[in-house]
């Protein structure tokens, strides 16, 4: 059901001269769990409010938007997870993601100031972590979610050592 992406777009957001590594499907699972909980909470709250203020038949009203919203969110999360990819090139790192709003960021190793690994409780339960690269500007926003912890650690070690080797400060 996803429209095939135009070829020029692929050239821009997934250049062929790099080997692209996808992220774990567990990322989608984590996000879907969060989505499910959020939809449930909102629906329950809406039902409570309606039950207290409106005739009983209105309780059925939140069902349709809830189901449709949940289904759309489910599918979007899946597509978004499949769109995340990264590539380690000789002197820089590429991170690409997004379906509606696509984005590709090229971060030279020499510009990396520090690398963080983050993992919340839900992510830890599903066995994934997020690697964050920081340069001198917050605009860079290079994050790779959905990596296995050992992959994340390996990537961070590699980036840290490459960053030191090629560092050129500001």
């Amino acid at each position: 059901m996803a429209k095939p992406l135009a070829r020029a777009d692929d050239d821009l957001f997934a250049p062929a001269d790099a080997t692209w590594t996808p992220v774990e499907p567990a990322l989608a699972k984590v996000r879907r769990v969060v989505l499910g909980i959020s939809v449930l909470v909102v629906a329950v709250l809406a039902c409570i409010v309606l039950w207290l203020t409106a005739p009983a038949w209105t309780l059925a009203l939140p069902i349709l938007p809830g189901v449709v919203g949940g289904a759309l969110g489910w599918l979007t999360i899946g597509r978004n997870q499949r769109s995340w990819r990264y590539a380690e090139r000789e002197s820089d790192l590429l991170v690409s993601h997004g379906v509606m709003f696509r984005s590709l960021v090229v971060v030279p190793y020499g510009r990396m100031q520090y690398v963080d690994i983050q993992s919340g409780p839900l992510q830890r339960a599903f066995g994934i972590a997020t690697v964050e690269l920081h340069t001198a500007t917050p605009q860079t926003d290079a994050r790779i979610p959905g990596l296995k912890p050992e992959d994340a650690a390996r990537l961070r070690e590699k980036l840290a050592s490459l960053g030191n080797a090629q560092a050129s400060g500001l």
Partner: protein, 458 residues
């Protein structure tokens, strides 16, 4: 980086030893100047309600207490504060109650400036402000010294940082251009906030008269806040603006009441922005700002912006830009305009979007009402980003941004054909890589003597 260490220099016990062993003292007026304004504020606060029914005894007692306590503390602190120049750093020791040892390494110093806050200027004193790589703004201040002493100390600090011998005399400066103070006044009058406030005042007056109400003090609010305050602030801060070139880099001097200097070492300039608002276009006035790294701002990366030219005409801009970028003229680089399709997303502004690039810098322009030119040296590119929203995808467009530290420079090639974006991204990544390897290191003065095969972005 200066960090307080546990090494407490025996400042107290060696008061009778050689005066230079532990370092020099600051000027004796220092405690009074530092505490002076503070004491006045405290006095004003305490004695505010005495204005109507002055009780002279109480006033005298309070004033005396403030002077004694404040003056005493200031005097003692001054007695125990010393600074010393060692082989590789400037060491500042303070005491006795709050003990602190600051070590400011010469090779981390990026800029040293002599400033004269108003109070100090009256007495002929000055304060030294040092920008240290990775340091906080408060770390690098030393005050007060006589103006001559401050300048001599500045020369002694800068020489080792630039790889020269310590006794090199102060580098001569050549004034490049002066901004007439009248022009600063005029430019402030014509800036959007001031004009807006002026119109608001007029509107309030008209409405009040039409409604037959008496003119109240409410009229004064937009006038005072929106018109008088910016004028006073800009005149005080930017009046007498002078740009001069020195071997340390481009230096600016500004201020009518307090005098401040700012040094812009060429290696630290991350980007440049030339802007022109609608009203200024009538006079052909421009404003030039730069992103400078390591200026000790509060932000994490230590990058802030500096005004190189608060208002100037086209010739002034060319002068300043040529000083910053050498033989490269960013405004002369041929640029690519945005495709016609971009008008769907920016009906009026699309005609003014463009990007261009040569061997050294990347240039973008934007703006329909307020015009803007952003210049980023390839060597200072942080990361390169391509983005595409759903509307852009429908039109076959994408945007490519060259990231620099946060500041007035925002170099984005907006709404390009996708194929053009692809090649722009690829080329920019490659250019940034090539020039990053070649960019100057810390001791930039020494590197200027070494032969290089191409004009380097300064």
């Amino acid at each position: 980086m200066s960090e307080p260490t546990d090494d407490t220099a025996p400042t107290g016990s060696t008061a009778d030893a050689e005066p230079n062993a532990d370092g020099e003292r600051l000027h004796p007026l220092t405690p009074f100047l530092r505490g002076g304004a503070f004491a006045i504020v405290i006095l004003a606060g305490i004695l505010r309600d005495q204005i109507s029914h002055p009780n002279y005894g109480f006033i005298a007692a309070v004033a005396g207490a403030v002077v004694l306590v404040g003056g005493g503390y200031g005097l003692v602190t001054w007695l125990f504060t010393r600074y010393r120049l060692t082989e590789d750093s400037l060491r500042i020791n303070t005491g006795p109650i709050v003990r602190r040892n600051r070590v400011l390494r010469y090779d981390r110093m990026q800029a040293v400036d002599v400033n004269q806050p108003l109070l100090a200027r009256i007495f002929g004193l000055a304060e030294l402000r040092m920008d240290v790589a990775g340091g906080e703004k408060s770390e690098g201040r030393l005050g007060y010294l006589t103006l001559a002493d401050a300048r001599a100390l500045r020369a002694r600090l800068l020489a080792p940082a630039a790889g020269l011998h310590a006794d090199t005399p102060t580098a001569p400066e050549q004034i490049v251009l002066t901004v007439p103070t009248g022009r600063v006044f005029g430019a402030t009058l014509l800036s959007s906030p001031v004009v807006g406030s002026f119109l608001a005042t007029v509107a309030v007056v008209v409405v009040t008269i039409v409604l037959g109400q008496p003119l109240g003090l409410l009229v004064m609010v937009p006038w005072a806040l929106g018109v008088l305050t910016p004028i006073a602030r800009n005149m005080a801060r930017l009046g007498g603006f002078t740009v001069s070139s020195s071997p340390d880099g481009l230096r600016t001097r500004h201020g009518l009441a307090s005098v401040e200097h700012q040094t812009l070492p060429p290696g630290r300039i991350q980007g440049l922005a030339i802007s022109q608002s609608l009203l200024w276009r009538l006079f052909g006035w421009f404003r030039v700002e730069v992103d400078v790294a390591g200026m000790g701002s509060q932000s994490q990366g230590g990058v802030s912006s500096a005004v190189v030219l608060p208002v100037g005409d086209r010739a002034d801009v060319a002068t300043v830009v040529s000083r910053l970028f050498g033989s490269i003229d960013p405004l002369a680089i041929s640029r690519h305009r945005a495709p016609r399709k971009a008008r769907w997303l920016r009906p009026f502004g699309a005609a003014f979007l463009s990007w261009g690039s040569d061997d050294a810098v990347f240039v973008t322009t934007e703006g329909w009402i307020d015009r803007r030119v952003n210049v980023v040296p390839h060597a200072k590119t942080q990361s390169v980003r391509a983005t595409q929203g759903p509307l852009q995808r429908l039109l076959g467009l994408a945007s490519v941004a060259v990231d620099t530290p946060l500041g007035p420079v925002n170099a984005v090639a907006l709404h390009r054909e996708t194929a053009e974006a692809v090649s722009l991204l690829r080329d920019q990544v490659e250019r940034a890589h090539r020039l990053r390897i070649r960019s100057a290191g810390d001791q930039w003065m020494r590197s200027l003597d070494e032969p290089s095969d191409a004009p380097m972005p300064r």
